[in-house]
Point group: C2
């Protein structure tokens, strides 16, 4: 797959089929992850690939509680607004909410979860390139994924399910449920680059205006 197609069409894919992700596809995903750079090339990362149904069910319980906490705290206002308004922003947020609630209600059906952990990485700059590599390689093999850090709401509980040695300073960066998509691949809606990118100083327009490379 061309790099441009991968960069443009790897969007959050929460609705996936229960079909298993074959071992060789999983191996490609994890091997792509470790190719990413990390500060001082320290590679202070660990990954856990979960495909055991019992483990996924346990994580699913924590995920359901976490998602409910997310929408009753950080996203409380947006969630209420989305229920009462018809403007485009409210509609978009409602679509995301529905998708996240689908993930909550069907979590036990995910065939694969990828967990990423870092040690002493305070910024996230030494773990999320690796996670994103995994998601891009998954996309190249037709596997959808979505990145969430929402399990952090549950503190040490998910770490205990996975047997993470917390005393060594390992910290969960995120959970990435994966599977073959129910829907179609496509370019996600984004605010255009010239609205969020500047030239030389903040607020100074970027020129020429960047244009999408795909399709």
């Amino acid at each position: 797959m061309d790099i441009r197609e991968a960069l443009y069409t790897t969007r959050a894919m929460r609705r996936v089929k229960p079909d298993p992700v074959p071992d060789d596809v999983q191996a490609r995903i994890i091997d792509a992850a470790i190719r990413a750079p990390s500060g001082g090339n320290t590679q202070g990362w660990r990954f856990v690939m979960v495909d055991d149904k019992g483990q996924i069910a346990k994580i699913g319980e924590l995920m359901a509680e976490s998602i409910d906490m997310l929408f009753s705290t950080i996203y409380k206002e947006q969630a209420e607004y989305a229920q009462t308004s018809d403007d485009p922003e409210a509609k978009q947020f409602k679509a995301i909410m529905n998708s996240v609630h689908w993930a909550r209600d069907n979590f036990a059906e995910y065939p694969l979860l990828l967990f990423a952990f870092d040690q002493f990485d305070t910024s996230g700059g030494s773990i999320f390139p690796a996670v994103w590599n995994a998601m891009l390689q998954a996309r190249a093999d037709g596997v959808g994924s979505s990145l969430t850090s929402v399990l952090l709401f549950k503190g040490e509980e998910p770490l205990d399910v996975l047997g993470v040695p917390k005393e060594e300073g390992w910290r969960m960066a995120c959970c990435v449920p994966m599977g073959y998509p129910l829907g179609k691949w496509g370019v996600a809606k984004r605010n255009p680059a010239h609205e969020v990118a500047y030239r030389n100083t903040w607020g100074n327009p970027i020129d020429p205006i960047p244009e999408p490379l795909w399709p």
Copy 2:
């Protein structure tokens, strides 16, 4: 370019030529960045592309001080060890140090810096996929890059150079110097996947052992 080649050969490229990065290449880099996912699709990001020599020189002064601070604090022990040992780990760290010192001493010659900022993203999971997209798209166009958060040592000073409205909660995630490489592209040295990835629970071996996809 094939996605696999991009994922496997996009390594930290600090030694680059002073040749400018054309506008259309820059536009592709920034447009790829904004295709990444972010929590709740909030896209709480801003990017500043710096190619003004005066700005680059100012950042270069802060960068030199930051790099010196890095090696006299966080990396102090490794730096001392690298000077006195000949073991493989020490040699590798020395190679990175030399490369970082090259960047410090030649910073004013970089033709392009990409800065990424986030707002209310505590984990980094909503900004580093975008940064890494930019670096992968740069790679596809033959442009090398390296990601560093070392300027955080200088607190608000880099933000002031770039005119960032700190009062709105914008925070620098990283600086990515870019340019056409002096050296060759290749697969970076990494600890193999089966040493850092587990199956279902921490410490449980992953099987089959993942193998490199490239070259």
